[in-house]
């Protein structure tokens, strides 16, 4: 075989294989920008999910009404109730847990 052929066969083919595998691996997009890494700053828009927003919601809202009009209606409804009953109602104690990581 000539020099060119030797070069192509023994250097070109492995390089081509490497290039193909490289392309396949990084063709997925490298989703590192979306990944949350604790301790590193993580930029995002805050979301608040309700699974079943109250009856009056517009037809365009999706299943998890993330901060749509339904929540705002929920907010105003709760505010109206709070205004109507001044002073802390008895038995309105919340529970739960907190934790850090």
């Amino acid at each position: 075989m000539s020099i060119i052929e030797t070069l192509v066969v023994f250097a070109g083919i492995p390089l081509a294989v490497v290039a193909v595998i490289f392309g396949l691996v990084y063709a997925g997009g490298g989703r590192s920008d979306r990944r949350y890494r604790p301790g590193r700053p993580f930029d995002f828009a805050p979301v608040w999910f309700l699974s079943a927003p109250e009856a009056q919601h517009d037809a365009a809202s999706n299943g998890h009404a993330a901060l749509t009009g339904a929540n705002r209606m929920a907010l105003t409804k709760a505010e109206a109730q709070v205004d109507a009953a001044p002073g802390e109602p008895i038995g309105d104690v919340t529970g739960g847990a907190s934790d850090r990581w």
């Binding site: 995002f44 109250e54 299943g63 998890h64 009009g69 739960g96 907190s98 934790d99 990581w101």
Partner: protein, 133 residues
């Protein structure tokens, strides 16, 4: 951290949020199942929690339509704080002990960088402990 507290004026698509579409679908499914099986209203907030985080979470919980029967899971990934707030009726079925257990497993997942997975498994744990409706 100030850019997290943007005003809630326009409708967000959820895509600038912390979850991918697939994660959003999983979360939606998990919340719907939890709601349906327990009869309580589960709600998840992912965003900044101003200090003191417990009080802010309680305030958010109070803004829900039915706070007594609601469970709010508030996560702040940048401050690395998780708050679970149960309403006065909900806490009878979900004692603080159970919430703490769920919080422990959720923070274990969050520490590994898995926000959606932690939330889904935490929801499943809470729903399981609250029992059937």
């Amino acid at each position: 951290m100030a850019q997290q507290n943007i005003p809630l004026t326009e409708r967000p698509t959820g895509f600038e949020g912390p979850f991918t579409t697939r994660q959003l679908l999983r979360l939606d499914e998990a919340m719907r199942l939890a709601d349906k099986s327990t009869g309580l209203v589960f709600s998840i907030y992912v965003g900044g929690l101003d200090e003191p985080s417990r009080e802010t979470a309680k305030k958010l919980h109070g803004e829900l339509a039915d706070p007594a029967n609601s469970v709010l899971i508030a996560v702040s990934p940048n401050e690395r704080v998780l708050e679970i707030v149960t309403g006065s009726a909900a806490r009878k079925r979900l004692p603080d002990r159970a919430c703490k257990l769920a919080a422990l497993s959720m923070t274990a997942a969050f520490g590994g960088g898995d926000l959606a997975g932690g939330l889904v498994s935490g929801l499943a744990q809470l729903a399981d402990h609250a029992g059937r409706f």
